[in-house]
Subunit: 336 residues, 2 copies
DNA sequence: GCAGTATATGTTAACGTTAACAACAAATAG
DNA sequence: CTATTTGTTGTTAACGTTAACATATACTGC
């Protein structure tokens, strides 16, 4: 592997000038820049990251923390991840994924080690649950961190307004004439799940609609749970005319269950999801849903974490970026 | 963060002696070892990995390549991963996960860069599909690599004997008196899926049993596909008395489908899975399955890759380690 | 008791890069 | 035409660690 001094020897310029070209510093003559650039290409040179890390005391890498549950229960994080990756790609930072639960980040000590050893400059965390042990560690140690899909005080966050988004969905159903509405809810210890459920109740109350406890289906943000519990509801009796699912995956699980019992969508029951994952438009009927701009959220979070790392997390006041949501109208909701 | 020279100053020993203690070299007096060890603890010292990488020309990290499909469609890789992580934990190597499809390893150039820049010393690949572009790159560039869950010529592999394992499962069913057996098959472009299907047919032929094309259910190693296609089979008519699923997840998807139509397991139909994932023993009825020692496979692969990296992949002849499989008898198969 | 070996410690240089400063030339101002 | 600024290039030291060699001391065998 070629080094900076190979380029230096080849071109006759000092290694410092070469370094300047590589790092796009100014104060380099056009002539030097060209000569060095072509040599870099010829040698297929890329800077040695270990040497850079050592001198810069920075790793140029961001850690992405997610839980196994998230990986398995939701496709939604895939889109977020794509947004993150494609943004980071442009900024000379690397990304490492840490699945929490795994020994990697299982203890506070490990997490701090990653930072102290300069293996990681900052963290991205996707939708941590309420009782996530490491959030405290991140906060008290002032580690550059951006949270995606949840709003924590004192943290930098990229999130949607779950209350507003839920109202958007429910009021869409109401506008279509629905008066009996059920909900498929998410994991109890996650903020987004809690906020969406609260907003659901609030919205029905606001419109003077009945809140029927039997029409709450536990889905845990998973396909299978939603599916099984929808089947249970079917066994027990009356259905609402519409269902609001706290994410698309549960909506799909529920739809599959309804179909298996010959309940027609949207003929017999309407259903609206949340997220707008890729699958949503592929199933039959295509799912009407409240769209979160997941890709853009990933991008925004990536930009923000780079900013924090470069400027120093201590100097930049924490802020939460709220993205807009919208209804994507497809064919799973019927006008009554 | 403390450095080696802090320890040196504190204890009065040279940095070289400190380095020796840290690396467990011999030729250090017991006295020095103790003094330095306590200082290391007091300072909470850990070696700077960037400096180490620079001087050693090695990253001490292994890349784990998996595809997004695998992450989503199977729990089985989780267990493998645990085995890998816990083994590596003991050996002073780090693990980085690369989800292929992602830009990280999307091109041959990227992959080589990882190696050339010394960011990664070697790769672990979980069950690559037949047409995985990067396998060629890994091979022609002699990059230390171990494959888990597939057997490629010229590569180091950790795998089970799919033929033998499938025979084990089918002959168990036959021993229980089953004569009409269907199969839920996996993703067409994966070796394990292909091998299991071939073995299935071979085994039925060997015992002179009917091979009914209608009793092949496409499952793509996914819960949902198995579920949907089982429903389809139910709509169309006659069932076999037993079902062999190429993985547990599909078995479970199929069972849920059968239950939703009031087909009793094992009363009306028996089912046997493959893998023995955690869920298998938790569902109702607990699933009888052909157990792969996934955890141990992860461990073995981790040991092997470390060996390759340390000794140099070129010097060590490639070998495939075959793990034994066994029947785990639970309650999803009835004796006829 | 002396060469020869083993054990314990230290010194120096190197890994590849960048920051900080120094030097020099060319351009501008007065 | 000198003084000052601007632009371009180079030199040195540093980041934290380990390899290779050097030195010193203690232990062996005869």
């Amino acid at each position: 592997m070629a080094t900076i001094s190979d380029i230096s020897k080849k071109t006759g310029y000092s290694i410092m000038t070469v370094s300047r070209v590589i790092n796009n510093s100014k104060n380099v003559s056009e002539k030097a820049r060209k000569a060095i650039a072509t040599a870099v290409k010829d040698f297929n040179y890329t800077p040695n990251s270990a040497a850079r890390r050592l001198v810069k005391q920075k790793s140029q890498t961001i850690g992405l923390i997610i839980t196994y549950e998230q990986i398995f229960s939701s496709y939604y994080f895939l889109t977020i991840m794509k947004g993150i990756e494609e943004k980071l790609e442009k900024t000379d930072y690397n990304l490492i994924m840490y699945a929490s639960n795994s020994p990697n980040v299982s203890s506070e000590a490990k997490l701090l080690n990653l930072i102290n050893q300069k293996l990681i400059d900052g963290f991205l965390v996707i939708a941590p649950s309420k009782d996530e042990f490491f959030m405290n560690t991140l906060h008290t140690n002032k580690i550059p961190t951006v949270i995606i899909g949840a709003s924590y005080p004192f943290f930098n966050c990229v999130d949607v307004d779950n209350n507003k988004a839920t109202f958007l969905g429910i009021e869409y159903l109401i506008k279509k004439g629905h008066k009996s509405i059920g909900m498929i809810r998410g994991t109890k210890n996650r903020y987004d799940a809690i906020e969406r459920e609260k907003a659901f109740i609030e919205c029905l109350e606001k419109h003077g609609l009945e809140i029927n406890k039997r029409w709450f289906i536990d889905g845990q943000f998973e396909y299978r749970q939603a599916h099984l519990n929808t089947l249970k509801l079917l066994d027990e009796g009356t259905l609402p005319t519409a269902l609001f699912a706290a994410n698309d995956l549960m909506a799909i699980g529920s739809m599959d269950a309804l179909h298996s019992r010959n309940v027609k969508i949207p003929g017999d029951i309407s259903i609206i999801g949340f997220d707008d994952i890729d699958l949503a438009k592929l199933i039959q009927p295509p799912l009407t849903t409240v769209r979160q701009p997941l890709y853009n959220m990933g991008e925004a979070a990536a930009s923000r974490i780079v900013e924090l790392v470069e400027k120093g997390a201590k100097k930049t006041a924490s802020q939460t970026i709220r993205m807009d949501t919208e209804i994507v109208e497809r064919e799973s909701v019927k006008k009554l």
